[in-house]
Amino acid sequence: MNQLADISAQIPAAIGVGLRAPHVREVETTRPAIGWLEVHAENYLGGGPSLVRLEALRRDYPLSLHGVGLSLGTATGLDPGYLERFKDLIDRTEPFLVSDHLSWSVADGIYLNDLLPLPYTEETLDIVAKNVAAAQHVFGRRIQVENPSRYLQFRHSTIPEPQFLAEISRRTGCGILLDVNNIFVSCSNFDLDADVYLDALSQSPIDEIHLAGHSRVSRGGAEILIDDHASIVSEPVWRLYAKALDRFGLVPTLVEWDKDLPPFDTLLGEARAAERIAETWMSEHACAV
């Protein structure tokens, strides 16, 4: 499968934004200067007018399809009918990236609409690797697997998350979608070191980076960070992004916003902030190449 070969040559090393339904009309009419767009694949599986509008935008912008429903961690395997619908969408929109998460959302034929946590064990490694390989086989291309934000850990997990992701990539040839905000959220929630997390992926192919906002909530006297995509990117996450660029070089980077959507300009402002960090990184590394 030559499509599984390195696709980095086709990827725009630029900043993109997550396109959500309330912003579509503005993007259609103003055609803002952004590197690329990413949409949630599940919103376009029906083939109605929203897909036709997406196809029109696709003529002007590179597109990334981001899944939230493949459920790569489901023990009983992927849903073949769902894979086929996803494949049809890939054929129609020719995305440069196709991603989903290191998590599960389907059990016993029921879809839970959240990115639920996996125990990181040898058993789970085998299951996720098999599912990623199955998706790549149907899609005929490499996919990107994203680290989730986590609010609980399993006692019997034996493999740290970044090592787990690196091993999935090594076994299947998949790329990694590094969500810097999710690293920050999970590391804060479990007192882990985000630098150590990044270091563990130094040999892995990072194909895309995600940035988003999180919130801090109080539960029973303790604090927990929630990855709610409902605000601007926080300062410590910007700093972690700069570190990720140091480790992995310039990678296509997406700013996402899903709840309490602001005016599109606010989202665009976040993309510009990411661009400034990327430009600073480039100017510092221009002579080092």
């Binding site: 897909l51 899944g67 489901t74 034929g109 125990p119 609980l152």
Partner: protein, 268 residues
């Protein structure tokens, strides 16, 4: 230690059904730390119910206004727990919600509620239905007049039909977010027969009279032209058959026509 498939079943039952044995079994697998296991699971449970509630609110906005937001959230919580989605495409979630509302004891007295929900569901289906090119009336050119009764039309995927004994279109209009409708609606003022479709990208609906509704609904259900006409003519012996057919083509409602071999089966 549970196998992953057992863990996922326990997680699902703990989250959706708040099943006590499943929660206990799952609790043994999870590290507590600063937060209790229950608090950690609650983060995920809240994500699941809040996101699905938002999805249903988007599909059934007028139902949400009719019963008020708090009651809607309560009813939807019960619905999600008993009828969780089976696919990740949330625009396809909620087909069973109208029937659920019709049988939900706290709103049994709101007799029209389930039909308004059915109406909103059909508008959701129409909004998301696939695109299809309209067929031209010239596709009938080779059909012998005697064969016309065996014609089967495929209507555009966004066409849906709904009849109700209640004035649901007026109720719906009066309870939209931008409502300028009537303050009071007499429930005894009569029912409606509605056609929902997408025209130029927008979902629209209109009331049909009884024979036109019978004619179009029969065609949409795949009945041959002869049978659809019989139904309309049984209601109104002056039903203008030719005009009714011309109108269907004129509005782009027909996407394909074929002849059924036996009068019931379409030829490919």
């Amino acid at each position: 230690m549970l196998a992953l498939s057992e863990l996922q079943t326990a997680f699902r039952r703990a989250l959706l059904e708040e099943d006590a044995p499943a929660s206990r079994a799952l609790g043994l697998e999870i590290s507590a730390g600063d937060l209790t296991v229950a608090e950690r699971l609650a983060v995920y449970r809240n994500n699941v119910f809040a996101s699905l509630t938002d999805a249903l609110k988007e599909t059934f906005p007028v139902i949400c206004r009719l019963v008020d937001e708090r009651f809607f959230s309560y009813a939807v919580h019960e619905f999600i727990a008993s009828h969780p989605p089976q696919r990740p495409a949330l625009m396809e979630y909620g087909a069973a919600f109208p029937d659920f509302l019709g049988e939900f004891p706290p709103c049994r007295e709101i007799v029209y509620l389930a039909d308004v929900a059915r109406f909103e569901w059909l508008m959701n289906l129409a909004a998301n239905a696939a695109e299809a090119e309209p067929a031209s009336p010239e596709c009938l050119a080779g059909i012998a007049p005697d064969d016309a009764v065996r014609l089967i039309f495929r209507l555009h995927p966004s066409y849906f039909y709904l009849a109700s004994p209640w004035p649901i279109a007026r109720i719906w209009r009066a309870n939209r977010a931008d409502a300028r409708g009537e303050a009071t609606i007499d429930l005894a003022s009569g029912g409606v027969r509605l056609e929902v479709s997408r025209q130029g990208g927008d979902v629209v609906f209109r009331e049909l009279d009884e024979p036109a509704f019978a004619f179009r609904q029969a065609l949409a259900a795949g009945s041959p032209l002869g049978e659809a006409l019989e139904r309309a003519l049984a209601i109104d012996s002056d039903f203008p058959a030719a005009d009714a057919l011309t109108a269907l083509f004129a509005e782009g409602a027909v996407t394909a026509a074929s002849l059924s071999s036996s009068g019931t089966e379409p030829t490919p």
